[in-house]
């Protein structure tokens, strides 16, 4: 054994140095990965500069590697499916869409570089992309300063209406209003809230709390967990003692299966203490397993199980191309629909410049599979029809109730004081 026994301080110091090394290596790796991606995916550049007038370049900006890649790869796939369909029917006014795919590797600094490349170098007509709110916030200045167009294709918490972003999925007021009313009326007035500790879940829970209290419900706790936490025994002990009528849940990502499995292990049942989740699509639910997932509630504007001919076609085409390993879900459907909304806006504008596209967007409609017609409103958000689904033993949601279509309001009066409500759209980044 060594004669020099290390002291506690010495080893701690070294452990600290190792941790710093981790971060540096991590971001280096991410940077390398992203360089590789841009060389492989923008082989179309040369063609684009010579024949720019023949095609319309559209950026497709998602994480195809890293922690967010499970969700975002399927969103990229759905976007590409729609672009190919549009091209197959002759493109937009005779011009084909030329996708420029970029992988931002789940890294919110890489996403800025990639957005700059798409806006400044590729000069795309518009971009479909981003997923986590952090990625959208990161690229806002790029799109606003370059007066470019970003179609943001996933449900989110709101409190934003950028002049340069078209929000094509649900915003919180659409997602949560009817759901909360239904939940309080049918499942009970004593609510226990849990969520991951960042802006999306915090805002979602604040809105649900306000809406539920307006319906006469009581929120007995509102607990948040560090994003990477998968140990929920303490919270479940507290929930057991508090005996709520229902649990409102906005835990995200890897926490979801752990929470649902530990809930089941603790002896909770969906019949007695149902969970309503705000952020748990079919994709997250797949990892929970049918036994633990069954009976779990989630509101969405799209469910894979919707038995309409248009949705059957959508699911079939997607699975033919990308396999059936993963269920289709709301962000995928919104990504797919985004390409059609963009095509409609360019057709209406008569030209594929970002300024003309932005002008044309309000009032533009497209058909969303399994949902119906969606229309972009002057506040840059989109009308949607939300349904409340309940998980079956295949970990897919069956629609239990379909609500009336609802207009988007990114600054709901329930949580934003009247004096703080801005006029929409506006420049978000200064």
């Amino acid at each position: 054994m060594t004669s020099l026994q290390p002291t506690r301080r010495e080893v701690l110091k070294r452990a600290g140095a190792a941790a710093v090394g981790t971060t540096a290596v991590g971001s280096l790796l991410a940077a390398c990965g992203s360089t590789g991606a841009s060389t492989t995916t923008s082989a179309t550049n040369a063609a684009a500069t010579t024949g720019a007038s023949d095609t319309i370049k559209v950026g497709v900006l998602f994480s195809l590697s890293g922690d967010l890649s499970i969700a975002e790869t399927s969103m990229k796939n759905a976007t590409m499916l729609a672009i190919d369909e549009i091209n197959a029917r002759g493109g937009i006014g005779g011009r084909k869409i030329e996708p420029v795919v970029e992988d931002y590797a789940s890294d919110f600094s890489v996403v800025v570089q990639k957005a700059r490349k798409l806006v400044n170098d590729d000069r795309v007509a518009a971009t479909i992309g981003c997923y986590a709110s952090a990625s959208r916030k990161a690229v806002l200045p790029v799109y606003e300063q370059g007066n470019a167009v970003l179609l943001y294709p996933t449900f989110y918490e709101g409190l934003e209406c950028s002049t340069n972003v078209i929000y094509t999925s649900l915003v919180a007021n659409q997602h949560l209003t009817d759901t909360t009313n239904w939940m309080v009326k049918n499942a009970g007035k004593k609510i226990y809230m849990v969520g991951s500790d960042y802006v999306g879940p915090q805002t979602y829970n604040a809105i649900v709390k306000k809406l539920a209290e307006q319906q006469g419900a009581t929120v007995i706790a509102n607990r948040f967990f560090p994003l990477t936490q998968t140990e929920f025994g303490s919270a479940l002990s507290d929930i057991k003692a508090a005996k709520p009528d229902l649990i409102w849940n906005t835990i995200v990502g890897a926490g979801i299966p752990a929470f649902l499995k530990q809930y089941q292990a603790a002896g909770f049942t969906p019949e007695k203490t149902p969970i309503f989740s705000g952020i748990c699509t079919e994709q997250e639910l797949a990892a929970v397993g049918g036994a633990a997932a069954k009976g779990h509630w989630f509101p969405a504007s799209y469910f894979e199980t919707t038995r309409t001919p248009d949705n059957k076609t959508f699911v079939q085409r997607y699975q033919e191309r990308y396999g059936s390993a993963q269920p289709t879900n709301m962000p995928m459907q919104a990504s797919y629909t985004s390409a059609y909304l963009l095509a409609a806006a360019i057709e209406k504008a008569g030209e594929a410049t970002p300024a003309a596209i932005l002008n044309a967007f309000p009032g533009v409609s497209a058909h969303a599979p399994g949902e119906g017609t969606v229309t972009v409103k002057p506040n840059h958000h989109t009308t949607h029809t939300v349904s409340l689904g309940r998980a079956n033993d295949r970990a897919l949601y069956d629609v239990v109730v379909r609500f009336a279509p609802r207009d988007p309001d990114p600054f709901p009066p329930s949580i934003v004081p009247a004096s703080k409500i801005p006029s929409c759209p506006r420049r978000e980044a200064s």
Binding site: L12, T22, S69, G233, S234, D238, A258, K261
Partner: protein, 282 residues
Amino acid sequence: MLVQIAAQGLSVGAVLALSALGLTIVYGVMGVVNLAHGEFVMLGAYAMTLLSPLIGPWAAIALAPLIVGAIGLVVDRALIRWLYHDPVKSMLGTFGLAIVIRQLVLIVEGPQLRYVGLPLTGAVSLGFGQTFPLWRVVLIAAAVVVGIGMAIWLARSATGLKVRTTTVDADVAQSLGMNVGRVNALAFAIGTGLAGLAGALVAPLDSVYPNMGLSYLVGAFLVVILAGLGSIRNALGWAAGVGLLTAAVAVPADDVLAQVVVWSVALAIVALRRQPLVASRV
């Protein structure tokens, strides 16, 4: 409430203890700070995920430590033996190893979260009308049995004596005719095998994916720093202590606050204690 805190605290402590035991043995015997320890926990969880549909959960739990320990043995001969008794080199080497293991699992098994069902779904009564999940009781029992079993094995068996001798002075052990290389390889296999067991046992309650190991490494490190690297008895005690403190804050209040309290207390203890990091070995 107090009963719930105690039960929940011991259950958190059990997971910490199971993951800390392997880390502390590997350091105690060969002076290797294994930053890939969490990845061996992850491999154990994947062994559980892949095997339990085929051979049932209990056989999978029995097999997981053997499989992960065998992988550990190969890794020791290929890499770790060049890093003995050099904490800095071993940290760098095992940090790289962690990346390689994570990426291999990512390539082979993909990034998606994996599902493992609960082998036992019942609950036990704690009295006062309170119940506690049966699987968490299994975790606590496993930590106690494995911890005490390891301590007895080291204290009483012939191989345990060799391991302890090597821990105190490898050169003397060798001069006495012991095969130190074999003892070291065995210790690394046991350390990683324990990580594999921890992974298999927590998989039914956790989310299984390639990056899941880091939180286990962090938890194990916290316990090992408080207990002193290389001490099994201290590791068990401090794991229970950390678990109980976590639950004492997290059950009535908040998990974010619990982490702040636990790490602040740990920092204060380490700063005030001014002892050498290494306690009496094994």
